[in-house]
Amino acid sequence: MSLHPANEAQRVRLLEAEHWLCTERADLYTQAHRETAGAHPSWRAARAFRHVFRGMSVRIEPDELLVGNRSSKLIAPPLALERGDFSFVFEHLFERLQAFGYRIEPGARAQLFGELMPYWEGQTVRSDKLDVLEAHGLTSALNLSPLAFYRRARSFGFDALAKLVPEGLPLPQLLKAMRAGAGDNVKGRGRCTDTQAHIVLGHRRVLEKGFSGLRDDARARIARGCTGEQREFLDAVELTCEAMRDFSQRFVELAHAQAAVEPDARRREELLQIAGRCARVPWLPPRSFEEAVQSVWFTQNAAIITYGAGSGITPGRLDQLLWPFYEADLASGALTKQHALRLLEELVIKLNNNVIIWPNLGGVELNHLGSDVENITLGGVDEHGEDATNELSYLFADAIENTNLATTASFRVSAKSPHAWVRRVAAMHQKTNSPAFLCDETAIAAMVRDGYSLEDARQYCLVGCVEPSGHGDTAGATGGTKVYFPTALDLVFNRGRTSFFGNQDGPDTGDPTSFTSFDDFLSAFYRQLQVMVDHVTEATNLRDAIWAARFHNPLISCTIDGCVENGQDMTVGGARYNFSAVGGGGLGTAIDSLSAIRVLVFERREVTMSELKDALGTDFRGQEALRRKLGAAPRFGNDDLVVDTLAAQVVARFCAMVSARKTVTGGTYKASLISYGLNVYEGALEPASADGRRAGAPLSNSMSPSNGAEQRGPTAAMNSLARIDQAAIGYGNSLNMRLPLGLLDSDKGVDSVAHLVRGYFRSGGFHVQFNAVDGKTLRAAQNEPEAYGDLIVRVSGYSAYFTRLGRTIQDDLIARTEFATC
């Protein structure tokens, strides 16, 4: 199937677009912020949003039917300088961004560095966060003394350290950047980003009531009597809703203006219809499928503008949301399936306009051009537990396939899903690597365990990569806080210090050479892990308190169930459900390491703890034989009961540690085991591990077995993962697999993909996604990126363009276990 020509043009434009840094959003937001000093954070936000919506450029591209741009250029992420993460990148890595291809108008550059960044200096979320983390003793300073460098070089080797250094960065600048970047590091090498978000928008409420209805709700809530605090928020909601009308009205005017000078009659008619739609939505509820799609896009786009890029603002169950409109319009003859597909293709293309600039030192190098995942959830059961896969579900599959972009989409599968659905998604791998399969039974069970009603749990959507969250009823912050299981091992070996930072981050769990049993070692591991979790959740709570005190978002909040009723912004706890997250990375690496320690040090006694510790401390210098021996120990992913039981136990303990922690809004934390392609970056600061992994090498990905560990095929790997109680992992996990080469060349092969999915889900799996290109193709794409510009692979929970991933991630993907040709 091929794209509608108008969409083909848009797709090409997207792929060929230059990347820009546009300062409109930052400039306008800052102006309003200046003028509202001392006002309530909800009000300040509303005023800022209105100022942005009224002042930023509006554009209508020559062939689009859906309108709503987020910046002055096609590809230019909205820069929310108030967060502080962008400032970090601009201050330290600006030349790198430019080298990567980001352009900036001279005037905008002068304004960014001369006015905007100075204004925000010292008053961003990030700067407050760094201050408060340091005040609470939660940071781990990066010691740059010669002795510290020597120790680090001894553990990591110069090659591994050199990889951390972006090319061409002069040393003083690099050191400055490293010191500044280290401020993100919580004791125990935990991560706590500046942003929250990772939220499913409440499109449902907007489609039902329009922003006029949400404004009326706010007014009605005030009329029922409220506190002063609540009044501030509700007034802000009212202002925000009206600002949305102002914004859409500008597109009405622009469409009319363009129509007036449009020579082509067909396009003129289209523009007039666009004007008609924008006059209606999102202020009023849509009356047609076209209006509904426009409403969704408008709200989605506006939300991203208000929050800034890099926030995982998620559209949710689009097939369910749009279905009533689709069904009605088809029945009345107002819509053809073909036209619906055209609109969905355009919507998918627009959802792919969103890119982020990673605000991490090394992150810019190792995973530049990440996609700001706007995860579309399709299929699955309805609130009654009945199959809700509908014609739109399949149309979206077509649209995703036709557009062949790095769309992040989640395909829900339940025992009630028709085989045609599972097979349809499996067949998508022949054209694109985008789809992820999600298991309703496991996800719903996890949601219910965390306190969702059964009806709300059944409506789950995937946020960010694969985190399940409610459909417009949750302030979830599903990503951004993380710890790494291999770090806990490093802390055991070094009695509470990490090899990279060298500070006393954790407790002294004793001299490991004095341990007499594997249980001793495992207990020490758990103790370090517990303290890591405690530190990182304390840090996240402190960060969240900053958002609650200073930066609200009444636009997103008023769409979320609970916020208007409670008269509270989502950052303060107004949503019906409130959670936060702690991710755990590198499980496979850690389990393989623990297994090697158990078998080689304590059972077979072939290696002493002392030998092992020394080898790990010097990146296996002169110890290649030992390194290979460690790598040959039993590993996770081979359907080995002993190893898998250990993995299940570690995950269960981790989930329990996490869910015992409370957030600042009175919710609980949920655990996730996801990497988002960062396993490469995360390994860069991790020394050699007892599974034979070298210092600085990538950690295992998500909850998948380590690269090369799987020796018994995909069913064995799935059996290993199925031994883990995945319904206890509240914010999900992901299993990434390479399919055997050529599997998709036959119908039988495609059916087999569906069988793997069904079998894994029946066994308790939660998520699986497949990379179905062969190593040769990927290697070729590395060498000739121009010829493979649209080659898509999954990098743990989201789709990315292979040729735009950093080389190290490309290498990691290629190294992902290739099963023998079937």
């Binding site: 069913t715 064995a716 050529g742």
Partner: protein, 248 residues
């Protein structure tokens, strides 16, 4: 797999019978085909008695995948029916576990063996490599008489049999042979044939065994050639399917 009659066990096999299967490869073979892809499994070795439970444990580990796909256990090799007690052990255990069973056989075994396993086998994948007696002997070391008689026997007993022919360019893909093969199948009342195109992936095994490959120059059939073979067989009234495990 030391001292085990099983020299390989492959999970997630999707070209060895219906659904997702686990293929168990048993040692020993009465033939010596020039194109053999599993040379490491041709010789019988001294085996211990307790080999079966571990094998069945690993087979049953994929039960869920068998259930959702209509798959099961496939016996291959070598010739899995060469030592009937071994095959019977695995097949009985499989049936006790209610697994679907498939046996890949060259047919050069006693009729009594086939009759013995028949009640436990859901599908025979029966190879017909060359129908000409002399050519068959030249290429495989044995004649066709017993093989053809066994084929007839299984069909007459109502067994579920899928006949397969490896497509070996220059050896069995000429029009004359295809015609004679079609005639032979018609004489059994069989109207379907599955083609398994030759491939070269296995050559590295000979290197590893320090043995010279016997057909180092033989190439996989090209797509046009394969299409011709299919058309030729179809012209003789056969329903032809092609095994998916061939390179494109």
């Amino acid at each position: 797999m030391l001292n085990s009659p099983v020299f390989d066990l492959q999970r997630f096999s999707i070209h060895d019978g219906p659904g997702v299967r686990t293929t168990v490869f048993l040692r020993g073979c009465p033939l010596r085909c020039a194109w053999c892809q599993n040379p490491e499994g041709l010789e019988c070795v001294e085996t211990r008695d307790d080999w079966a439970p571990a094998v069945m444990r690993e087979v049953c580990a994929d039960r869920t995948y068998f259930e959702v796909s209509g798959g099961g256990l496939t016996l291959s090799g070598g010739e899995p029916l060469l030592e009937p007690t071994r095959a019977m052990t695995l097949l009985s255990a499989a049936k006790e576990e209610r697994l679907h069973t498939c046996v890949q056989t060259c047919g050069a075994v006693p009729a009594s063996t086939l009759l013995q396993v028949l009640p436990l086998v859901d599908l025979f994948q029966f190879d017909l490599k060359h129908v000409d007696e002399a050519k068959h002997r030249e290429w495989t070391g044995a004649g066709t008489a017993r093989i053809h008689a066994n084929a007839r026997l299984l069909v007459e007993r109502g067994a579920n049999v899928q006949f397969r022919m490896p497509v070996l360019p220059g050896i069995n893909d000429d029009d004359e042979h295809l015609g004679r093969l079609a005639t032979f199948l018609a004489s059994l009342g069989v109207s379907a044939l599955r083609l398994v195109p030759y491939h070269r992936h296995y050559l590295a095994k000979y290197e590893a065994l320090n043995q010279p490959a016997r057909l180092p120059a033989l190439e996989a059939p090209t797509a046009p050639r394969l299409a011709q073979v299919i058309a030729g067989l179809q012209a003789h009234g056969l329903e032809v399917t092609v095994d998916g495990a061939h390179p494109g």
